[in-house]
């Protein structure tokens, strides 16, 4: 494989992008250690980082066009994995059958990985459409169909949070595929009207369960929500973040909300709260800036992408990344209801970090081949 990589390509290797991603993961490992110093999550995460780096470089040296070409194959494999999750091979954790345990490979979360084939499918399909005409209804429906299958299977687990993270991928792809602006405005307006309406009808008809209503109420008024019930997670997370102040408590276990177990899921869903507690405003803003830098670098990659397929892949990836950051960090700060979505590159969990690094590998691969004519 190395043989097909020309010397020139190496010069184009985006060291900055990879360094940024690795730095965020390293920062995350430190926070995982702060969250659960007595557990082995942080050690597992180091192994995850090494594996992820290896995978990213491996993907980087594969011609991304090959990957796009075989997108349907990956897609089918992904769907099979999601079906397997629902069989007895799946592992149930906290009421969600979201993990798959396979011999040799071990336990992983297919819903994280299936994002890659979905991105590839989008890239392949929307690259091949007539580039000069506005998006047709048929094309839109195909886009919906591509995510409908995995999202449907993920909802059966049920993992609404993961399912939600597929939505921005489609939105970005449609937006960049010449969808008419009036449809964009129309759909935003429809969302603004239909979401509250749907919520209201859902509550009235009992389709939306009481705990889901409570989670919404908590966001609207966290202080008066039952601090022992549904408001607990949000309130404790806000206390944890608030207590960090400007520079944080710097690992003082006698003050740590996570060490004293007031903060639930500190190493996964609430890793941002742990970061806020330990490194304060300074650390958190640095992290947000790092994400901003990462996103800028990715978008730059998209701008210089040699073809439409890679551009779509990168931008959809950016959309998904930004959406996850917003949902997760927003959740820890009481802006968004509690939804189980990991913070990309920060939360402990091999599936999340590996899938993100595969996508980054794709971006690196695109970058290295940007002067290649086709």
């Amino acid at each position: 494989m190395m043989a097909i990589v020309e010397k020139r390509n190496f010069r184009e290797f985006d060291w900055l992008l990879l360094t940024l991603a690795v730095s965020i993961v390293c920062f995350g490992i430190w926070q995982i250690y702060n969250a659960q110093p007595t557990e082995i999550y942080w050690q597992k995460q180091i192994i995850g980082l090494i594996l992820a780096l290896f995978l990213a470089i491996l993907v980087a040296f594969i011609d991304y066009r090959v990957l796009v070409y075989y997108a349907p194959v990956f897609y089918v494999i992904g769907i099979i994995l999601l079906i397997l999750v629902l069989t007895p091979l799946g592992v149930k954790v906290k009421g969600q059958q979201a993990w798959l345990k396979l011999p040799l490979v071990g336990q992983f979360q297919p819903s994280e990985f299936v994002k890659i084939p979905v991105l590839l499918m989008f890239a392949k399909y929307f690259n091949e459409r007539n580039k000069f005409s506005p998006l047709t209804i048929k094309e839109t429906l195909v886009g919906v169909a591509i995510i409908a299958l995995p999202v449907g299977l993920i909802l059966l687990e049920p993992d609404a949070g993961q399912a939600l993270t597929y939505m921005p991928l489609l939105a970005v792809v449609l937006f960049l595929s010449s969808i008419k602006i009036r449809y964009v405005i129309l759909s935003i307006a429809a969302c603004l009207i239909l979401l509250p309406l749907g919520f209201y009808i859902g509550v009235k008809t009992g389709k939306i369960k009481q705990y889901q209503v409570e989670r919404i109420n908590v966001i609207l008024d966290p202080e008066s929500a039952d601090p022992r019930g549904y408001g607990y997670h949000t309130l404790q997370s806000m206390i944890t973040i608030g207590q960090g102040g400007i520079t944080g408590i710097k690992g003082d276990t006698e003050r740590s909300q996570s060490a004293l177990k007031f903060l639930p899921e500190p190493h996964t869903d609430f890793i941002f709260a742990v970061t806020a507690e330990n490194t304060g405003f300074v650390g958190c803003v640095s992290l947000l800036l790092a994400y901003a830098l990462l996103i800028s670098r990715l978008i730059m990659g998209a701008r210089y992408a040699p073809d439409r397929a890679s551009m779509l892949f990168i931008m959809a990836f950016v959309g998904g990344l930004t959406f996850q950051i917003f949902i997760n960090v927003g959740m820890t700060m009481g802006m968004v209801p509690v939804i189980g979505v990991p913070l990309p590159l920060m939360s402990a969990g091999l599936s999340s970090i590996l899938s993100t690094f595969i996508a980054i590998g794709f971006v690196l691969s695109v970058r290295m081949r940007r002067f290649v004519n086709y």
Binding site: I239, I241, Q243, G245, L288, M311, T322
Partner: protein
């Protein structure tokens, strides 16, 4: 950019996505600024308040001792079972009442009341649901640790009254502070669940007996489990109270009441030279341990309920709260006042007995016919006729002057809560005049022999006769001898000791001759063929006065009379004054005087065994 040309405004659309991404991150940064910089202190405080807890270390309460240092009340370690506030916020404890009641053998109603109380008191950390837990209770709690983590076993000192019903009215009892008491200024520094004195000396000297609780400042996790100890502040024990009580005399007094016909009444022994109470018994009595221990058990609560509803009123301290017509014991102050007011003189003290007196068309008789007795003889024989006329001569104003002289218009000032004052014509006159138009002579006649408008407390009558024995010095009766000091503990400053300061006695002015005349009469009651000659103790001359308080309206049949005897001894150099009242038993000489004799014998056995020895030889 290579692919821009292909579609509509692609560069713009990418830029829009980029701007949205930056906006999202900026929005998160703004929220972060709000939570960490603007509200940072607020959340730091919230974090601290949920992780740092204070666990109270109760202070041992001071002991109560008798005059010779014997323990009357102390605290002993017991196990208690508590409900943790942290845990019961998570569960509905009302659903578990049945389990608690069964497992800990508690009254269900009591548990529900406790839980209701918890709701009203947000400031508590733990609430006791069972005191004096047995080994079985502790085992049950430990065995159900996972099922009921809200239950905890703790070691706590508990008040213990080794003598039970003996001296109960004086000692009082302790209990948990009530929500109402918490609002009082004197309990400003207390918290729900704290123990305070509720009655008797426990209440009167509560601020000395009560210690200052310490606390453990601990770090807890989200389940309330202790992770580390941050600070320990040791409690400062309460101060010990040494009383004037002699427990041997007290027991003797209680035995006399137990032996009496109705088992209802009071006996008090006092040192007339300074007002120290040596014994104070009131019967029927109660067991203070029931209040301390029984509050959580069905039987205990039933017992307490009985104490409150019993028509014999066992919770009443008859010695200071009972009001009885003093009957002939009232003749003592009347005699002194007659001399003081010059109605009679030492030389000219004779007044006719007449076998009684006719007021209007009504004849009120004397118990005998005593001719034309002098004062001393009138006292010795308790001649009513004499005092009818003496009273009339003094007039109601003279009697009221006497009331003021002997301070019957106010409580004696004994150091016990809720002492009642004697009621006299001074108190009743305005009422009578309003209702009947005038104060009639017949009321003056009755007031002269301690009936009708005169209702005295036993302690007031004892104080009177004791004063006669010591040349008219009327001391304030008291139970506190000394409060022991306690040293400094940590930041809690040392608390100095207190010794009871005997205030200057009120002097009942009498000339030597007047005093001798009255004394002769009182001495004669026991030693010269008087009304109580049956209780004479050779070698230990008792001076006293019998009394019989009529309960039925005059001339009708009703409950039996109350029997009084008030006295001091030895007659001309008194060491001890003793009184007894036996309710509804009959004549003072027959029922009260022997009870007093019993106390004197106990006194002699202890302090002058030789006197009793001689008596035995003579027998």
């Amino acid at each position: 950019m290579k692919i821009v040309d292909y579609s509509q405004n692609l560069a713009l659309r990418i830029a829009i996505i980029q701007v949205i991404a930056y906006l999202v991150l900026f929005l998160l940064g703004v929220r972060l600024f709000y939570l960490q910089i603007i509200k940072g202190d607020y959340y730091s405080e919230r974090a601290e308040s949920q992780r740092v807890k204070l666990i109270k270390i109760p202070a041992p309460r001071g002991a109560i001792l008798d005059r010779h240092g014997r323990i009357l009340v102390d605290s002993r370690p017991t196990y208690i079972i508590t409900l943790s506030a942290e845990e019961i916020k998570r569960i509905n404890p009302y659903e578990r009442v049945d389990d608690y009641a069964r497992g800990l053998k508690l009254d269900k109603q009591y548990l529900i009341e406790r839980l209701n109380l918890i709701r009203k008191q947000p400031g508590f950390e733990t609430m006791i649901i069972k005191e004096n837990a047995t080994i079985e209770d502790i085992a049950w709690v430990e065995a159900h640790n996972l099922e009921f983590p809200e239950l905890q076993v703790e070691l706590r000192p508990q008040r213990f009254y080794p003598y039970g019903e003996v001296l109960a009215h004086v000692l009082g009892y302790v209990g948990e502070i009530s929500p109402k008491e918490l609002e009082k200024a004197e309990y400003a520094d207390l918290k729900p669940g704290d123990i305070i004195g509720k009655a008797g000396l426990e209440r009167y000297y509560d601020r000395y007996l009560r210690g200052v609780p310490g606390y453990r400042k601990v770090l807890v996790d989200s389940r309330g489990r202790i992770q580390a100890e941050l600070e320990v502040v040791e409690p400062q024990a309460g101060q010990d109270l040494v009383t004037t009580i002699d427990i041997d005399l007290q027991i003797a007094a209680e035995q006399q009441l137990e032996k009496s016909v109705t088992k209802r009444g009071a006996i008090i022994a006092m040192d007339p030279n300074n007002g120290e109470i040596l014994a104070m018994a009131s019967s029927p009595s109660f067991d203070p341990n029931v209040f301390v221990r029984g509050i959580g058990t069905a039987e205990g609560r039933k017992k307490i309920e009985e104490y409150y509803t019993d028509e014999n009123r066992p919770l009443l301290n008859r010695a200071i709260q009972g009001r009885y017509h003093p009957g002939s014991t009232w003749k003592i102050p009347l005699s002194v006042a007659g001399l003081q007011q010059n109605v009679i003189t030492v030389k000219e003290s004779r007044i006719a007995c007449g076998g009684g007196i006719t007021i209007g068309n009504k004849f009120t008789r004397c118990m005998g016919n005593h001719g034309f007795p002098a004062l001393d003889y009138a006292i010795t024989k308790s001649c009513d006729g004499y005092y009818y006329r003496l009273g009339l001569k003094m007039g109601i104003d003279g009697i009221i002057k006497m009331v003021e002289e002997f301070e019957y218009d106010k409580p004696t000032g004994i150091d016990l809560p809720n002492e009642k004052a004697t009621r006299t014509p001074k108190y009743w006159k305005p009422y009578v005049e309003r209702r009947e138009g005038k104060w009639s002579d017949i009321r003056t006649v009755y007031a002269s022999i301690g009936q009708d408008t005169v209702e005295a407390t036993p302690i007031a009558m004892l104080r009177t006769i004791a004063a006669i024995g010591v040349h008219g010095k009327m001391y304030v009766p008291h139970l506190m001898k000394e409060i022991k000091p306690i040293g400094q503990v940590g930041d809690f400053p040392a608390r100095p000791g207190v010794v009871y300061e005997i205030s200057e006695p009120k002097i009942i002015k009498m000339t030597r001759e007047q005093e001798e005349l009255v004394m002769k009469g009182l001495w004669g009651v026991v030693n010269a063929g008087g009304t109580a000659s049956g209780i004479r103790i050779p070698g230990f001359d008792i001076a006293g006065k019998t009394g019989t308080a009529q309960n039925a309206a005059l001339g009708t049949k009703g409950p039996k009379d109350h029997a009084w005897f008030v006295s001091f001894a030895p007659a001309y150099k008194p060491e001890i004054a003793v009184m007894a009242i036996i309710e509804n038993s009959g004549f003072g000489a027959q029922h009260a005087a022997p009870a007093v004799k019993g106390v004197y014998e106990a006194y002699l056995r202890k302090y002058h065994p030789s006197i009793l020895g001689k008596q035995d030889e003579r027998l």
